[in-house]
Symmetry: C2
Subunit: 426 residues, 2 copies
């Protein structure tokens, strides 16, 4: 039976989950996968944590050099997170010819080209299923399941923290701050929630997933990003009346016009599949030229779901010695021939507070018309203490035209405030 030695760098939540799956299922993997997988080495500053997991003292390495010089280690699992020291450790492991399995989306997003170049030199594997959408095998699906397709688009809820917060706001009518605190309390959000709530985490993942989907390098710099911190209970309530739910979407499109990649909150129809993805669950819908729509749904984070993806990569590496790299030239920047579309086309929900005076609506509609933005629906609410709330839904239009319209509106005396701009994806 083929033996496979594993080292785990970092014994946090995911590292611990990975260790548990590998040890609990050792006999099961021997039987079903014909692989005898053993954790041969761990690198963890907190030695007690390793001992508590039941790891023998002589397997606790004190440096990355000790890990990579261990000849019984075939696969190095990196679950430290962040760029450094993870990057240096992974590079050293690859340089020593070991296959690397990582859950580190920031590292893969920012340094993939560099890691892959090193891996290729040494014919080492580089796998990162766990970096995107936790236990949901979206990367394997793109590389081994729908690879017969040209992927036309990818739409996902790929950050569990923000989906938990938005679901909470929607179901319980709580405001953003309250929902965030609850998410922090339950461990769904970090003490410093920026990476999640400002959309960085989703943008890392979208950069990786859209690169794989479209077989082109899509750097982070090209991903438009907007977080959920400005979403209010009022937006959610108005959306509900209009038949929408709000989600933080990651959208990638590959059209004749070019590549469009964006992360932002969006209204989606309440009866769509993507709208039923609640709490900390994730989902990704891909559309291929042959297969049509395929959607994957599941847990995007957590010790065992993410551990499941890591162990899946370990087994994959063990069973398929022929190594695959990216299906495109993996460079730091995008290929010069790749066109990116930043002036994208969608529908918009716009909420204003305006003066209670006749003729205002007509004046506002005039500004939209001037920039070629056609309106689908206008709802003027009753007067509140600060003015009249006005909700506008546009037809499909260009992003830049809407932004110019809003600039103009903001400068109008009759417009007290531009309260919200939320894209509508149907």
């Amino acid at each position: 039976m083929k033996k496979l030695g594993v080292a785990i760098l970092g014994l946090g939540v995911v590292g611990g989950g990975t260790y548990k799956i590998l040890t609990d299922n050792k006999e099961y993997f021997k039987k079903t996968q014909k692989l005898d997988i053993t954790v041969e080495s761990v690198l963890e500053r907190n030695k007690q944590r390793a001992l508590d997991l039941g790891i023998e003292e002589d397997k606790i390495a004190s440096s990355i050099e000790e890990v990579i010089s261990n000849p019984s280690v075939d696969v190095v699992v990196e679950v430290i997170g962040g760029v450094e020291p993870a990057r240096t450790f992974v590079l050293k492991a690859l340089m020593s010819g070991k296959t690397v399995v990582t859950s580190n989306k920031e590292l893969v997003c920012k340094h993939w080209y560099e890691l892959e170049a090193e891996a290729k030199k040494m014919n080492a594997g580089l796998l990162f299923e766990a970096s995107c959408v936790g236990g949901v095998p979206i990367i394997r699906t793109l590389t081994e399941g729908t690879q017969a397709n040209r992927i036309l688009s990818l739409v996902g809820i790929i950050n569990g923290t923000t989906n938990y917060i938005l679901t909470k706001m929607e179901k319980e009518g709580t405001d953003y701050q309250t929902a965030l605190k609850e998410a922090q309390h339950l461990g769904y959000a970090e003490f410093n929630p920026t990476a999640d709530v400002e959309g960085f985490d989703a943008a890392y993942k979208l950069s990786i997933l859209s690169s794989l989907a479209f077989s082109k390098r899509i750097p982070l710099e090209n991903v438009y990003r907007e977080g959920i911190t400005k979403i209010t209970g009022e937006d959610i309530a108005y959306g509900k009346k209009l038949g929408y739910k709000i989600k933080l979407l990651a959208i990638g499109k590959n059209t004749d016009a070019g590549i469009e990649v964006r992360v932002h909150p969006a209204f989606v129809p309440v009866d769509s599949m993507i709208a039923s993805v609640n709490d900390s669950f994730n989902a990704v819908k891909i559309t291929g030229d042959s297969v049509g729509e395929v959607m994957l749904y599941g847990r995007g984070a957590g010790a065992l779901p993410t551990g499941s993806a890591i162990v899946s990569d370990i087994i994959f590496a063990g069973k398929h010695p022929e190594i695959s790299y990216a299906t495109f030239e993996n460079t730091k920047e995008a290929d010069k021939s790749t066109k990116f579309v930043s002036d994208f086309t969608t529908k918009y929900f716009i909420r204003l507070t305006v003066e209670d005076k006749s003729g205002v609506l007509s004046k506002i509609a005039g500004v939209f018309a001037k920039y070629g933005v056609s309106l689908k629906e206008v709802k003027q609410d009753v007067y509140k203490e600060n003015g009249v709330p006005l909700v506008i839904i546009t037809h499909e239009t260009q992003e830049f035209s809407v932004r110019k319209t809003l600039e103009k509106l903001e400068a109008m005396e009759e417009v007290f405030s531009v309260d919200s701009l939320i894209r509508v994806e149907e």
Copy 2:
């Protein structure tokens, strides 16, 4: 660049779709997969069909022997369907050492052990992603994506024809016969619809999928099967009032008590993900011990979706020369140690027509109590011309107890008819 020669047996809908994907994307696969895939041979009785697809005359073989003796053919795609002659052709291809890719669920379900034995002898690949749920990469997910898990359960809508019919009945209030005719008219149902509407097609797929999921051979004989032909508009209407939608479910469970595999119509909560799977779409939800719930959704049939799965297998075989077979001993019968549960536990919706007389309800409730079936909800409708409709929802209970209860009820003078028995899966 690695060259891969393909032969296609059968140029029907799926064969044609496969040919189209392979030829349209030849350059794309060279670039992204580093594989130069060429259709080298086709076997099709209707020669004109091959010529119409643009296939050169000298590539149209006149016998299976001609196909397998062609040294430029590496992979044989079988898309004839049914057991014979598909079985003989596939066995011959495997005996000659060629990798076989098939979409034939009946063949794989009934003869997998035999095909695999032959494949192993010759170290030939045997891939059948397209046999289950069309373009949705559920088999690759089970074998290469969630393989780190012990799968605890699998619940799916894995037949598009019946889902189309049930969606139509539900949305338009049409009866079964009308919806079936519409499905036949649109090409979603065959002229002889038995395989679909009686649940055979779903049972073939469930046998394959649950074998893969539970790493145990689950023969067709062990799958409980019930079709949709007895479902009425009344059942659907009552279900709607109770917050349910009706779906033909394929359910596999792997518990300490044993393996439970069943295909039958079931009510599911209207707000569940599985309830949003409409028309001819399919979905499979698996629950793993580490990953938790993962659901895949997409098109379960059609020329291009199924072709997408076939081409995915061809590419997989080309990229990963290390061949994998079933993760269990692949025999004709189930392993003697495998326990099957036929007296399964679920909730039930029961519809009766009873006499309009005081004391009837109490008598009926007494029969349920006698067999230990606890009732959750009883709705007695107003008198109709043939008696009083009575709708009962039970708590979780045993299948055999419910069947015994119904036998007893049927024999009661006050029970005019037992109209429906539909399981409720929450």
